[in-house]
Symmetry: C2
Amino acid sequence: MNIFRLFVKPKTATTARDRLQVLLAHERASVGGNDLVTILRDEILAVISKHVKVDDNKVYVKLERGLQVSTLEVDVQIPFDRTTRRAA
Amino acid sequence: MNIFRLFVKPKTATTARDRLQVLLAHERASVGGNDLVTILRDEILAVISKHVKVDDNKVYVKLERGLQVSTLEVDVQIPFDRTTRRAA
């Protein structure tokens, strides 16, 4: 998984967009055990949408579960005027 | 900032530890504007500590604020038996 590509996507969108990316990785000392990434996913998405008005089709979420490492990638494109609800 | 190093730290800890890493990056279309990373930081840390009993000295938080990109790195080492509060 090339993490750097997260930060270098070419600016294709015509309208200026802010971009918020979240990467979560849980490395377990032993196989099995609780999968924090799955547990935290919904609550972290809830925190984000509390502060940013997000279009569902502009949110990319990818969860990968391995034996010892699970990762969550969230990539949100935010229309320019809606960075934070309070500011809008 | 070499993001890959986040995932390849050598296993030095004697006691088995799970590891949770969070990387947040806010790329702003224009200079200035709200800094989502600072706004989201405390709430994301609160979500994590709700599910994981964390020792303060095992939490590494780094916030970097640039003109157009701000990043937040959180690296939490979790003692083996305390992956989630409910399971403990």
